[in-house]
């Protein structure tokens, strides 16, 4: 069994890729479940997080800069998200397909702005030395950066499920998710719930951007390479479900990583798409189907 370490290594890579997908897709899934809109500029929130991390590392040197960069990126991306939601997305609430196009326009502008400010080549963040270690286990080496990303994803997921399950805002989110009109009728400020969830989602994307900056240079289109798989994860996951999104991200990550044992990266992308289409043949509602008697889901 000489192949076992290779397979194990790829399984680990799959989870590591999945953790990035989860961080990128969570915000999309949350606001999609709530408002039925997809924010095509979500990838640029990753990019923004990356650049904010770069700036923070310039100002705050030292091994713990990353822990300053994370909240900075979260807040920064959430603020830009708030601006985007109130100016564009909220206006188009009734036209989900048009939201795609309008937010794509935002994404183009943000990419070009980044190109003009930071240059097309990209900027690098030097990962703190404690992230350069590797951990060896059963013949497979795990880079500490990847383990750290996995940890961040797990913590974010835990925190988010706690917020949704235990806090007052979580209760409101669940209510609006189940029945928007009824929630509004009981006096819930639906508008504010939408805005809060959207900001939370873009904030998480900003956080994901910091993590991405540890893996490679931050370029103006760094978000684009993660966003299409993240869309597929949202489709696979089912309507705005945390559990569904997580399972879908793990599935996508594993399919992508394991297929790369046999084929190159571009073919593995095709295989992931085929996997999604075949999966939808059996479960068109996604991993976690929301059962409802409403006719128009």
């Amino acid at each position: 069994m000489t192949e076992l370490p290779l397979v194990l290594g790829q399984v680990f890579n799959g989870f590591s890729v999945a953790s990035l997908f989860v961080l990128a897709a969570l915000g999309l899934a949350l606001s999609f479940g709530l408002m039925r809109v997809i924010n095509m500029a979500h990838g640029e929130m990753l990019m923004l997080g990356g650049y904010l991390a770069y700036l923070t590392f310039l100002v705050v040197p030292g091994p713990l800069a990353i822990f300053v960069a994370m909240p900075v990126a979260f807040v920064g991306a959430a603020l830009v998200g708030a601006l985007l939601e109130t100016t564009v997305i909220h206006r188009l609430a009734e036209r989900p397909l048009d939201t795609l196009l309008a937010t794509w326009g935002v994404s183009l502008i943000m990419q070009q702005a980044a190109r003009n400010i930071f240059g097309a080549i990209g900027v690098g963040v030097t990962a703190p030395t404690w992230l350069n270690e590797t951990v060896s286990l059963g013949g497979v080496t795990f880079p500490a950066t990847r383990l750290f990303i996995l940890l961040v994803a797990v913590l974010v997921l835990l925190a988010l499920s706690l917020v949704i399950a235990r806090t007052r805002i979580g209760l409101l989110v669940r209510a609006v998710n189940q029945d928007r009109e009824m929630a509004a009728a009981t006096g819930i400020d639906v508008r504010r719930v939408d805005l809060t969830v959207f900001c939370l989602g873009t904030g998480i994307a900003g956080l994901a951007g910091v993590v991405l900056a540890l893996l490679g240079p931050v370029t103006p289109n760094v978000g684009q390479s993660y966003i299409v798989p993240a869309f597929l994860v949202v489709i696979l996951g089912g309507l705005g479900s945390l559990v569904g999104t997580t399972i879908a991200a793990v599935l996508t990550g594993l399919v992508s990583a394991l297929s790369q044992i046999f084929v190159d990266v571009s073919f593995s992308q095709v295989l992931v798409l085929l996997f999604v289409i075949v999966f939808l043949q059996f479960r068109p509602q996604g991993v976690v189907a929301v059962r409802s008697r409403a006719l128009e889901g």
């Binding site: 564009v88 397909l97 794509w104 990419q111 869309f231 489709i235 990266v265 571009s266 068109p284």
Partner: protein, 364 residues
């Protein structure tokens, strides 16, 4: 679109377009004529999008795939036609290939290549859309899956450098069915062929929109479940609309490739695919003449702006996306139709106003 909004613009808009297209060779410079031919080829794709997006309400962010399939089909033939027997296309020799891939071989035959321009996008679109629509995957989901399709197509083309030409695509064509591609005669002929193809697509889609099929597509767009309750299975209609749009995209891609002399992943990937949607959004998604005008407008603007101020183009394009979609969802065609109606109110429009006025008058 209801009978009310079928104003003078939508009835006579195509006559204006046709007259302009026919007069162009005598008015504009040869360079502008070649641009116009190229953009008219793109307009054929836009006509397909009116059927798919405007009529059926299906947003495809992957039209570049079908545009590219048509383009590559004809480009493979053009590449092979210029060779002496036994030779390989230049890029294959450079990347160390010594035999022609089997799927290249039939493209030596011009008839096969032309058939492939229609058949390859058509068959792939039918298969793909049937798989997806069968399971009632609609709306945003569908749009995102088509975008993933565009991403896969472009990455595959780039990664299979020895048999697809990779990032540079296929270019450097010399002859077109025996004629020198660079000669003024060939350019003019190609222009007329493109105008004819665009006119045929225009009339064909107009006929489809006026038929029972068109009515069912609009009904599906506005209330898919109601159409189901009336006893129609909506999936086949949507598959036909998607396939027709894909075939038109393929034809447009093939003509574009001959005009531009190149087809490459950069013309068919995620970004160009979504740009194709914006041509139609700017012109007006429900209006055939609007879509053609929008394609010409956006592309001439792109040509002007991106050669003068390259950085500005992406800002401008981004702004166009936001402004058109939020403020003028019916595009230029909508603005023109509203203006025409204001100048010359029609009997139908008065009929709409009168009852309200009567009601207001009768109220105490």
């Amino acid at each position: 679109m209801d009978a009310e909004s079928k104003s003078a613009a939508s009835r006579y808009g195509w006559i204006v377009l046709a007259a302009l297209a026919a007069a162009a060779p005598w008015i504009v410079s040869p360079y502008e004529l070649s641009l116009l031919g190229r953009f008219l080829a793109m307009a054929i794709l836009a006509i397909g999008l009116v059927l798919l997006w405007g009529e059926a309400g299906i947003l495809s962010l992957g039209q570049g795939v079908f545009f590219g399939l048509g383009g590559y089909a004809i480009a493979m033939h053009l590449k092979l036609a210029a060779l002496s027997p036994g030779d390989l296309p230049d890029f294959m020799t450079w990347s160390g290939r010594d035999t022609l891939p089997w799927w290249w071989v039939p493209f030596e035959n011009p008839v096969f290549a032309i058939l492939a321009v229609f058949a390859v996008p058509g068959v792939i679109a039918a298969l793909f859309s049937w798989l997806v629509f069968r399971r009632r995957v609609v709306g945003v989901y569908f749009a995102l899956i088509t975008q993933a399709l565009a991403l896969c197509f472009a990455t595959l083309l780039i990664s299979q450098q020895p048999s697809t030409g990779g990032f540079n695509g296929l270019t450097d064509f010399q002859t077109l069915f025996g004629a020198d591609l660079a000669s003024p005669g060939a350019i003019l002929t190609l222009y007329w062929v493109t105008v004819a193809a665009a006119a045929l697509s225009y009339l064909g889609v107009r006929w489809l929109m006026g038929s029972r099929f068109g009515t069912l597509l609009r009904a599906t767009r506005d209330g898919e479940n109601r159409v189901r309750f009336l006893g129609h299975d909506t999936a086949p209609y949507k598959v036909v609309a998607f396939t027709a749009a894909a075939v038109l995209a393929g034809v447009g891609g093939a003509l574009f490739t001959m005009h531009a002399g190149v087809i490459s992943p950069a013309l068919v990937g995620v970004v160009p695919s979504i740009e194709m949607v914006i041509w139609v959004a700017v012109g007006g998604r429900n209006s055939l003449w609007g879509a053609v005008a929008g394609t010409l407008l956006v592309n001439f603007a792109k040509d002007e702006i991106s050669s003068a101020l390259p950085d500005l183009w992406l800002y401008a394009l981004g702004l166009v996306f936001i402004v058109v979609v939020t403020l003028m969802p019916r595009g230029v065609a909508g603005v023109v139709e509203d203006a025409l109606r204001r100048i010359r109110p029609k009997a139908g429009a008065k009929g709409m106003i009168e009852p309200t006025a009567a009601k207001a008058g009768s109220a105490p």
